[in-house]
């Protein structure tokens, strides 16, 4: 249970993760309530996608633990991990469709691997999922015949195939036209309200995320800088948070990657 009495779906407790010498996540703690839409926002390269991969068990933290429905993800055997992932859906930033099979086969893939459904039943279910994302007519196309936005929508249909209880979206609005963004927002709201699906969105699109979020976390430099409802975040006095949500070029979050002073670089060359 979190402070507001909601059951917790994901609990990230003091997680740190490093890639070689670079610290990506530094002692992060999050609570993702069940049946709510939680958004993790922050500038590019701050470790948002890493958090999703840690939750999915694709990366192992150096410190801390991650609980999914009270099960420690990183203490499971590989077989148990694969099993628990049937409860999760992850939309990758790159869509990650299987390039050698058609759109239909991509969406049918989870059914064929995890169920003993008849061909007819799979056919109807795949059509239903494709209808939800508006691409039933594209079922016979190959992934290389799709635009970036279409590929992302097909990937959503595939991720939703097994009706997971947790759905994670990694930058779902990038590269989408305004109509598709509107449809995606509506789809996420419906999944959340009608099916009670827990949704985590990783994004840096402030406007869209504010429309959707029940709860937000703002990340920068591998740390959580602020958290709360949309009102809490908008009213936050934290300089980092205000700089990010208002898109100010100058502020506490540096635009430049850490480097020695430019003058030293010039003088060293001379």
């Amino acid at each position: 249970m979190d402070d507001n009495g909601h059951k917790t779906c994901i609990s990230v407790d003091g997680v740190s993760y490093s890639w070689f010498d670079k610290q990506i996540c530094n002692n992060i703690s999050l609570k993702i309530p069940k049946g709510k839409i939680t958004v993790i926002m922050g500038p590019s390269g701050t470790g948002k996608t890493t958090v999703l991969r840690l939750i999915g068990g694709q990366l192992y933290p150096a410190k801390g633990r991650i609980l999914f429905n009270d099960v420690d993800i990183h203490k499971l055997s590989y077989k148990e991990l694969l099993k628990i992932r049937e409860e999760m859906g992850l939309l990758f930033q790159s869509a990650a469709l299987f390039s050698n099979i058609s759109v239909f086969d991509n969406v049918a893939f989870p059914y064929r691997e995890h169920t003993n459904m008849s061909k007819e039943m799979i056919y109807h279910l795949v059509n239903m999922k494709l209808e939800v994302v508006g691409l039933r007519g594209a079922r016979d196309l190959m992934p290389n015949e799709l635009s970036g936005g279409m590929a992302r929508r097909i990937a959503i249909a595939r991720a939703l195939a097994l009706d997971p209880s947790l759905m994670m979206f990694d930058e779902p609005f990038v590269g989408q036209d305004p109509i598709t963004v509107g449809i995606l927002i509506k789809l996420m709201e419906q999944l959340n309200k009608i099916l009670g699906m827990t949704i985590i969105i990783v994004s840096h699109d402030v406007e869209e995320c504010f429309k959707l979020a029940d709860y937000l976390y703002i990340m920068s430099g591998g740390k959580i800088l602020g958290e709360g409802t949309v009102q809490d975040i908008q009213g936050s006095k934290n300089g980092h948070v205000q700089q990010f949500i208002n898109g100010k070029p100058d502020g506490a979050i540096p635009f430049h990657y850490t480097a020695q002073p430019f003058s030293e670089d010039i003088l060293n060359v001379c």
């Binding site: 999915g56 694709q58 590989y78 694969l82 099993k83 992932r85 049937e86 999760m88 859906g89 992850l90 990758f92 790159s94 990650a96 469709l97 299987f98 390039s99 893939f109 989870p110 691997e113 995890h114 990937a155 595939r158 097994l162």
Partner: protein, 260 residues
């Protein structure tokens, strides 16, 4: 001096670590509780991609290698007046050495590189990661069918190579240079022993099949997620596989001869 020693030690550790990881990788695939009934269609697909699509290059190369061997063999044997031994020369050279080795090298270049590029691209485009997130083990779905198909196809391709290369030698020796057909075949039949020569060649090609496919799938699976990662992995597959074929050929020949 100390820095060089340090670098040498570092390289040794890296090589040992890579060997260790590749052994764990192959063991994870071989000892995976594979559902053979479900893997069979994927295996057949891969037999087509690795075996059937490699046939043109194998057929063409084998025919010309057999013809060159027939021509060179006739030219040399003719100096000693023993052209009757042409069948024996062609068959033994091909069945014992050229068949498995050249098939191995061609297989590494054609099928090994395509395997690495395919799996490498799946890695860089996150297809492997997404498969894991769907709850499917890529070792079962991606690696195992390709590995088994490679091991299955390599001896078959080697047998086809040997048969066609001998036929090439026959075309040049008998049809063109007028060596007696009966002598050509009977000398070949007398000198080639099934257990020693033919089985030896099959064992070699089977071993090459394991090693080439192992290197190819391992390099593909461990491709760096960068644009040039796939090209580096593909190059490594061809170089390592070719070297391993030649080294293993020597080792296996030494073991098979045995009475030094």
């Amino acid at each position: 001096m100390f820095v060089k020693l340090q670098m040498f030690g570092h390289t040794c550790i890296l090589v040992c670590s890579m060997l260790g990881r590749s052994c764990v990788f192959i063991a994870r695939t071989f000892f995976h509780p594979t559902k053979f009934r479900r893997i069979f269609p994927l295996f057949i697909d891969e037999v087509y991609h690795l075996g059937v699509l490699s046939l043109p290059i194998i057929l063409l190369s084998s025919l010309f290698i057999g013809m060159v061997l027939g021509l060179q063999g006739y030219n040399t044997l003719n100096k000693f007046g023993s052209t009757a031994q042409l069948g024996q020369l062609v068959a033994l050279s091909i069945v014992r050495e050229l068949g498995p080795v050249i098939t191995g090298l061609l297989f590494a270049g054609r099928a090994g590189s395509s395997l690495t590029a395919e799996i490498g691209l799946m890695q860089t485009t996150e297809q492997i990661s997404s498969m894991e997130m769907i709850g499917v083990d890529p070792h079962w779905r991606v690696v195992a069918p390709r590995l088994y198909a490679g091991i299955f196809c390599m001896p078959l391709l080697s047998i086809i190579f040997c048969a066609l290369a001998i036929f090439g030698g026959y075309l040049v020796g008998v049809k063109w240079l007028n060596v007696d057909s009966g002598i050509f075949w009977s000398n070949m039949r007398d000198s080639v022993d099934f257990n020693v020569d033919i089985l030896g060649g099959i064992i070699k090609s089977f071993t090459f099949g394991i090693v080439i496919t192992w290197i190819a799938v391992f390099q593909g699976y461990n491709t760096q997620h960068t644009p040039d990662g796939v090209s580096i992995a593909t190059t490594k597959t061809v170089v390592y596989s070719s070297l391993m074929v030649l080294i293993l050929d020597f080792v296996l020949t030494a073991v098979m001869i045995g009475d030094w």
